[in-house]
Amino acid sequence: MVISQIIFYMLAAFTLLSALFVVFSKNPIYSVLWLILCFFSIAGHFVMLNAQFLAVVHIIVYSGAIMVLFLFTVMLLNLNSETEPHKPTLLKFAAVLSGGALFLIIIAAVRSTMPAPYVAPQLSEVGYVKNIGMKLYRDYTLPFEVASILFLSAMIGSVVLAKKERFN
């Protein structure tokens, strides 16, 4: 077995286990911490796929910004396992069964329409910072600028939403 396959298996097992722990842990803080580990292993997958730029951006944006936001909110709202609401057992079984059924259906659909597998190039250079930057600033300039407007409106919107209403 090649070493990259072993690395893939370990990373995949880590990703799936931490994703399962996100769903099944009782305490919301543990869920957030498992999700951070899951995102780190996905960044590892990106490195394996020669997508260095996205790996770094993934760590900075997801593990650095988004999960800190989640952690702050969980701690701000003082959520812990005592206040955690739970669904009835029947609904839990139904949820797990429907998740598994969705998995089987997607796998069956993919199997029946399986395209010819891509032959991987000797060295995939598309994920390097230079190539992504060229693509981003040459072909996708307008979406890039629109994204900044989206960020501005999201910032204003979240401040307005989270502000205390003074007039009621």
């Binding site: 396959q5 989640f70 709202l77």
Partner: protein, 106 residues
């Protein structure tokens, strides 16, 4: 490590991200805490990101990775607005249980 993607078949990534997506769906159906549901949506977005990056690398086409970049942008904005909404909901009903928020159900 330079030709590491040659030894891993692309179908494995397809299987992995399908499984991750289904774990996210299961979490959305299973939990009642709105923050956990938001986190499971992030999990689903990441499964799709992983699949896009794998196809992009195997096909040698950078557009998939640019799309993943924009998905990350939208996810960051979505999380900021969603958490602000959750904080304001918590301020009104003192809970993040989604089963309390059933006033618009019927």
């Amino acid at each position: 490590m330079e030709n590491s993607i040659q030894s891993v078949p692309q179908n494995w990534y397809l299987l992995l991200s399908t499984f991750m997506f289904c774990i996210g769906v299961m979490g959305v159906l299973l939990r009642r805490n709105a923050i956990i549901i938001l986190m499971c949506i992030e999990l689903m977005l990441n499964a799709v990101n992983l699949l896009l990056v794998s196809y992009s690398s195997y096909a040698g086409n950078a557009e998939g990775q640019v799309f993943v970049f924009f998905i990350m942008v939208v996810a960051a904005a979505e999380v900021a607005v969603g958490l602000a909404l959750l904080v304001s909901i918590y301020r009104n009903v003192a809970s993040t249980d989604i089963d309390i928020l059933n006033r618009m159900k019927w």
